[in-house]
Amino acid sequence: MSSNTWNLFEVFIRSKNGMSHKHVGSVHAADHKMAIENARDLYTRRGEGTSIWVIQSKDIVASDPGEAAALFEPAVDKVYRHPTFYDIPKDVPNI
């Protein structure tokens, strides 16, 4: 069996205009053009998309789940960033 040196690409599909692209999975391909074609065959056989993005998996930089607390916990105790934090009398209109 010959060794396969094709790259792995992550695939993002826009289901319809007005929506953002959403990650759906990955494909193997020799180049970007083939990655788009393979993604078309694999992820849009039933009209699931109007646009495709592909990016080599190795080019994606992800946050470390081990640092999730340091990254995301500071937002948890800032309740004053939410509109419901503020008491406004019921008879004040349009706010």
Binding site: M1, W6, V24, A30, D31, L42, R46, P65
Partner: protein, 333 residues
């Protein structure tokens, strides 16, 4: 198309010995996340045994989808009408897609698709026993869609909530597409069951041959499935083999009645008290011999895969050479 644990009892107990590792604080925290119904994502901590169990199960599932194309591909050129041919080709293309979604999910666990495909080609990886049975005539294409895909759906719906995120998401896609497979098979069986006497006899014959192998798709009885408990604790599996088998039988018997065909089991009868069907003894000797590669088509299936792979090598090499040439041109410019 479906998955189950196909390891022999000896292999399972050996694996279990290997899986007994000291329980660490990380393992306890991991189990707590599972118990809270959280999904585990690729970069999260997971015990090595969880990772290995998933790789084995997802790969076996992917291989089953890929090998599953062969019994059906056998009939593409002999489909009785253009309509049936288009449907069959679309179904086979879906199976290829399902295999690829699943390899894609397996790759998030740190194994490469090449390694998995190589294991299949070298006969080191298992796939569903069902695909080592031959598809002898056109009615088999109906029976496969109705029964084999029907059993697959029963198995796969709970996997949409399996604890590993990428596997669960792949299964959501698979399940959305699988319903078409079962319905086209049932419609084909309807056409034959309502056709001439000879056609009806073919439909009955196909049901006779595919019924028991379909029940075996759910894997060995719970009493012999030592691995089930750990997979249930990790919420990789949500229901036991026997529970899923019962669910499939209860759903399928009325469908056979609607076709006017007889399920080939003299012991099959409705159990009013338990609100389910009682059914006859499954021939597990046959199951284990098929697992060990004694199925009628076992050798053909893998050698056919290897042949297709080898004959496509020049396409992969040409694409690779073209890509390198493009890169070189871009670098010069």
């Amino acid at each position: 198309m479906y998955t189950t644990d196909l390891r022999t009892k000896e292999q399972k107990s050996k694996d279990q010995q290997a899986e007994i590792a000291p329980v660490t604080g990380d393992d306890v925290a991991f189990q707590a996340r599972i118990d809270a119904d959280e999904f585990i994502e690729p970069k999260d901590f997971m015990p090595d045994a969880y990772r290995q169990t998933l790789i084995r199960q997802i790969a076996q599932h992917a291989h089953s989808e890929i090998v599953g194309m062969l019994p059906e591909g056998n009939w593409v050129t002999r489909a009785p009408s253009l309509r049936r041919k288009l449907i069959l080709i679309a179904k086979i293309q879906d199976e290829a897609g399902h295999g690829l979604y699943l390899y894609s999910a397996a790759e998030t666990l740190g194994v490469s698709r090449d390694e998995l495909v190589q294991q299949l080609h070298e006969g080191k990886a298992k796939y569903s026993t069902i695909f080592n049975y031959p598809s002898l005539n056109w009615a088999d294409i109906g029976a496969i869609g109705w029964l084999v895909d029907g059993a697959a759906i029963t198995n796969q719906i709970p996997l949409c909530r399996t604890s590993y995120g990428p596997y669960a998401r792949a299964m959501v896609r698979v399940c959305k597409e699988e319903s078409f497979h079962q319905r086209q098979g049932y419609e084909l069986m309807m056409a034959m069951a309502n056709g001439s006497e000879a056609q009806k006899a073919m439909a009955q014959d196909a049901l006779n041959r595919w019924w028991w192998p379909s029940l075996m798709m759910f894997g060995p009885p719970d009493a012999d499935s030592t691995h089930t408990a750990q997979s249930m604790a990790w919420k990789i599996k949500r229901f036991t083999n026997d529970e899923l088998r019962q669910r499939f039988i209860d759903a399928t018997v009325p469908q056979a009645e609607a076709l006017g065909l007889a399920i080939p089991d003299p012991d099959l009868k409705w159990n009013e008290a338990e609100n389910r069907y009682d059914f006859g003894e499954i021939d597990w000797t046959e199951f284990w011999s098929v697992v060990r590669g004694k199925g009628l088509c076992a050798r053909d299936r893998v050698s056919e895969r290897v042949r297709a792979y080898d004959e496509g090598a020049w396409v992969r090499e040409a694409a690779e050479a073209y890509s390198q040439k493009q890169n070189k041109t871009a670098n010069v410019a």
